[in-house]
Structures are given as C-alpha cells and as structure tokens.
C-alpha cells in the first residue's frame, strides 16, 4: 500500500492506495502545525482505509509544507501531483486548474500524464480560496453555501479590483449601496474565473479540463469558469480537493 500527503497552505489531505485504488482518505486543517497536520491526516486516512502504518510501503509528500513532513520517502511539487492524480482519473485530461487556499495553478499535461507546463499566481492571494474566505466573512455568508447562493443570481455585480484588500473595500461599498449579496458573490466568482481563466488562456487551454483543489467544490466558481472559458469541466470521480494527495500516492507507488 502507498500513501500521499498533500500539506497545503490551508488544508492537509492524505490518500492511501490499495491495489491502485483509493482505500481511504482524510482532509484536515493545516493551520496549527504543518508537521503535525501531515501525521494526523495520515493516521486518519490509514484508519479510514482499514489498514496499519506498517502496511504503507512508501510515502510521498507534496504541497506547500511538503518538506516539513519528516516521514516522507520523497517530496514532489503539487504541480506534478495534481497532473498525476487527474490523469489517473481520466487519461483525456490535458489541463488542470487547481485552486487551493493560497495559490491558483494551471497545469498542462501530455498524453502520458506528465506535466508539460504550468502557470501560477504571484504572491498576491487574489483569485484563491483565501480570497473567497475573506469575502465570505465580509458578506457573512457560509463558505460552503457560496456556490449555491451565487447560482441564484441573474445579475452578477462587476468587480473591478483584483487585489484582495481592494476587493474587500469594494464589496463593503457594494453592500452599503444595497446590492444583493447573491449578486456580489456571483461577481466575486466571475472575477476569480476571469483572473485564473486568463492565466489558463495564456498557457494555451487544451481539452479535457479538470478543476481540482478545495475551491473546485464551489459550484459558483465552477460555473463562472465554464462560462468564461466556454467549456465544460470533465467530471472527476473523487473529491477534487484530494487530487494532489492522490497524485502523491500514485508517485509513491511508482517510486
């Protein structure tokens, strides 16, 4: 059996593979101590997979905190891992858009599933999960319900700012001017789609396209992307947030 740990900047994910299939996984917060988060996530995934630590032959760590997880046999970047995970679920995939807590990434894959090029946001948090969290707070909307909520909008607000700080100010003034929350949220989703979507276009968008990372669970961002890029995302059969950890486990199985 093999394990992959994705110590993300906000969330740590672990996947345990048995006979090349996902046997168990876990998703926990990384906010405390990234080293501990890695261990805890692994333990939980092992429990969920109904196996023991000794059964795991090789562990690969990925994600922002990959080098702080000391039990890894190898570390690989999440760029390679998201590509590997997505390719495993659907070999037709040529582009992965991964939006996590701190980064948005666009990854190109060749037919064999190898990462062939990528683009990433600069250090600014605009267009990431963290950005949405800040906005959800400002709007007093639950993070999990943002997607559903925005889908009800028929007139998304247009937001000009791409910077988290300015966007927050803009959101606050929109609320003050009486704009509907659902329209503001839909506008925020559009702004993410525009920003990350342009990055994807710059790289040369190729089908099929998978959307991964925690933000992929937000149906509003998904549909904003599909509208902006005029494409439909390829369905994936696993939780989009664990694709990096899945890729790491797959790398472990070939190491």
């Amino acid at each position: 059996m093999f394990a992959g740990i994705d110590v993300g900047s906000l969330v740590t994910k672990a996947v345990v593979l048995r006979d090349g299939k996902v046997a168990g996984y876990s998703i926990i917060s990384s906010r405390t101590n990234p080293r501990k988060a890695g261990e805890q996530a692994l333990e939980k995934a092992i429990t969920n997979a109904n196996c023991k630590r000794e059964d795991i032959k090789c562990i690969v760590a990925t994600g922002y905190g990959r080098s702080s997880f000391s039990f890894a046999d190898k570390t690989v970047t999440e760029l390679t891992c998201h590509a590997t995970g997505a390719h495993y679920l659907n070999t037709e995939i040529r582009t992965v858009i991964d939006i996590g807590g701190q980064d948005s990434k666009v990854i190109k894959l060749d037919e064999s599933g190898k990462m062939s090029d990528f683009a990433m946001n600069d250090k600014c948090a605009a267009g990431t999960g963290r950005f949405l969290e800040v906005m959800a707070q400002a709007l007093e909307v639950g993070l999990d319900s943002m997607g559903e909520f925005s889908l009800k909008s028929d007139k998304p607000c247009s937001l000009s700012s791409i910077c988290t700080v300015f966007a927050e100010t803009e959101v606050i003034s929109l609320i003050a001017s009486g704009a509907k929350k659902k329209d503001i949220v839909a506008g925020l989703h559009m702004s993410i789609a525009r920003r990350v979507g342009s990055m994807a276009k710059g790289l040369g968008l190729q089908k099929e396209i998978a959307f991964t990372g925690g933000v992929a669970k937000n149906s509003g961002v998904r549909s904003a992307f599909e509208e902006f890029l005029s494409v439909k995302f390829a369905p994936i059969s696993e939780d989009p947030q664990i694709i990096g950890a899945l890729g790491a486990a797959l790398v472990a199985s070939k190491f």
Binding site: T77, E78, L79, D103, M115, D117, F118, M120, D122, K123
Partner: protein, 424 residues
Amino acid sequence: MEGEREMWKAQGIDLKRNDEFLEAAGKIYGDVYMKQPNRPKGMGFFDFVMSEVHSIRPKEMIDHREKGGKVVGTFCVYVPDEIIFAANGIGVGLCCGSDFSFIDAEDILPTNLCPLIKSGMGFKKGMLSPYFEACDFIVGETTCDGKKKVWEIFDNYIPTYIMEVPQKKDPKQRELWLKEVELFKEKMEKESGVTITPEVLGEKIKLINARRKALERLYELRKSSPLPISGKDALLVSQIAFYDDPVRFTSKTNELCDELEERVKNGEGVVEPTAPRILVSGCPMVIPNWKLHHIVETSGAIVACEETCTGTRYFDTPIVDETPTDIDGQLKAIADRYLNIKCSCFTPNDDRIDQIIKFARDYRADGVIYYTLQFCLTYNVEYEKVKRALNKEGIPLLRIETDYSEEDTGQLKTRIEGFLERIS
C-alpha cells in the same frame, strides 16, 4: 576593520541601523554562501570583501577623496566608468539590493515602484550606506521611467547628474548618445579639475576592458560541464565588480579563473554533471539579492549564466575599441560600446532575444528562468516576446516576478521545483 565605527560616525551613518543591516546581511551570507559544497579556494577573497563590505572599500574611497580624487556613484551599466577613472575618479555601483531600506523611502516614493529604486533611495535618505556617503555626486540615466523621475528626488539629498540614454539605436540616437558621453567627459573634468588626455583615457579604457575580459573568462568557464563554480559564487563575483578596485578585482578574478581552469581540466565540478543547468535572464541582482539563485541551487539545479546587468550585460558586448589614440575617437569607441548593451528600456530590443537563445545554447541550459523585479515594466512586458521566441526554439521557460522580501520563498520554491520536474 579598525576604526570603522569612527569612519561611519564621521560620515553621518545611522550606526544603529548600520549594525542591524550588517548583522542581518552577515547571517544571510552565512546561510547562502558558506554552506555550499566544493567551493573554489579563490572565493576566499570575495568572502573577505563581503565580510568587510561597509569598511575597507568605503575607506579607500574616503582616502581617495582626501587626496583630491572624486568618487562617483552609479546605478546602471550604461554609465561609462572609463571616463570617471580617467578624471582621477572612482566609479562605484551603489547599494540598492535590500528591502532593509524600504522604510526610509516609503514616505517619499509610491509603493508600486521597483524595489531596486526604492532600496537605493532608502539607503541614501536613511544614511545607511558608507558608499553613498563617500560619493561626491551620483550619475543617473534616463533608462526606465521610475529611475528617470527618481533622480529629481535624489537631487534633494545628493548632487545628481543625469545622462540621457536614448530609447532607440538609430544613427540619430547614436549621435545624441555620443554627445552625452562627451558632455559627461566635460562634467568629470569640471568636477575634478583634471584634463582628460588621450594617454590617460587610453589607459583607463584598457583598465576597464581588462575587468570585462576577466569576467568574460569566468563566464566562458561556466560553459563547461560539470560546472566548476556555483551560480551563486559567480553572481557574487559579478556583483563585486561594481564596486571593488578594478585592478585588484581583475587580478583576483583571474586567479579564481586559473583555479577553475584546473577544475575544468580535471573534470571537477561543484555538482554532478546531471544537475539541470539554468540560464537566468532579466533584471539586475544587486548585493545582497541572492534570492533566486539560492532557491534554484537548493532545489538540485545550478545556474550556469545570468543574462542580466549583474551578469553578461556588464561585460559581454564587445570591449571598447583600443585603437583610437585621439580623444574624439576614444569617446566614440566608448559611446559605441555602451550603446550596444541590450536593455529592455530600448525599443526594439530584438538583439537581446537572439542573445538569450544563443546563451541558452552556449551555456547548455536545460531551461531559462525569466527573472523580473516587481513593477519593472520594461522587462515584464518584454517577456511576451522572449516567450514566443523561446517556445519556437523549444527552450523551456519559467517566469518569476518577485521583490526583495522573503514572503514568497515557499511559492517560488514550488514553481522552481515544478519547473525542474517539468524539464527532467
């Protein structure tokens, strides 16, 4: 150095901040430089220069002034050192590579300005640099918009002379530039009271050419595999070229090259020959900015060349023609040489793109990292052209835009390691 504190005090340096800066820089230096494996012995001199960075060379400059010479600060590789030295002057590239001094500049400059400019302004305004305080005046240039306008602010703190660097390289602009070089000669003569003779100018042309040749020799050796020297060490040599005494620098660099030649002969390298080789291309990296090189070289790759002002752009365009024996001919040779530098402030600047491709081949690069400082418009915009050209040639390319802070180290590491995974 003995008596350094008295020297700083007399210069008006902010002693407390200076101590803080030296301590921080010393620590970074230890982490970045002293832990490298298989360093050439010849780097010892450069380590020493760094350990005395605010002491020995500034002292030499102060002594030079006491003997009636001039010290002239510069910020750009377009300012001809030959003329400064021919007027019994010392030319020195000034401090602008650290965010330590941002706080001193932030109250008078916009936040969205290139870190190099902000840092330089801060070092002067905050009285943090013995180099600035040793200068009689500084020479700015009309290259990028940020610098062009900041000279006017600089002039409130230190006399600032400006050379007009044109933006195109047509005959008309070449003429203008020649005129600027002639005016600069007059300025130096007036400031120093020295009449620049063809004999002395000829001598200084040879002096600065010798410095270029030493650097060229160093870079030539970096074309071999395995690499006999790390990118970090080579970068440091390039950076020190801007302020050390040219005679001493040239001789120490040549000594280093002798050692590296032996290494190459014996097939001895600082890393395995399989380590991916990177060409870095873009904005200058001023001491103590070793950020990108450090990340690359702690991720299993090695930098083989810098197509930057603290790299090839400093020496690579043909050396100044040494044949003219009259002032007019010499000034024309100087003007010609400098205008061949390929900075993105020029339009068009296609020669630079051809050169990046050539360097990628010559230095056997497995990939190119396009390095830009945040808010450096010209290099950032030029990326698009470089990308098209390199894509066509099938040369892998990664773009990194960053500043002097450490905040984004983790994200940069992911990108760089991802790039290495991609090209492996």
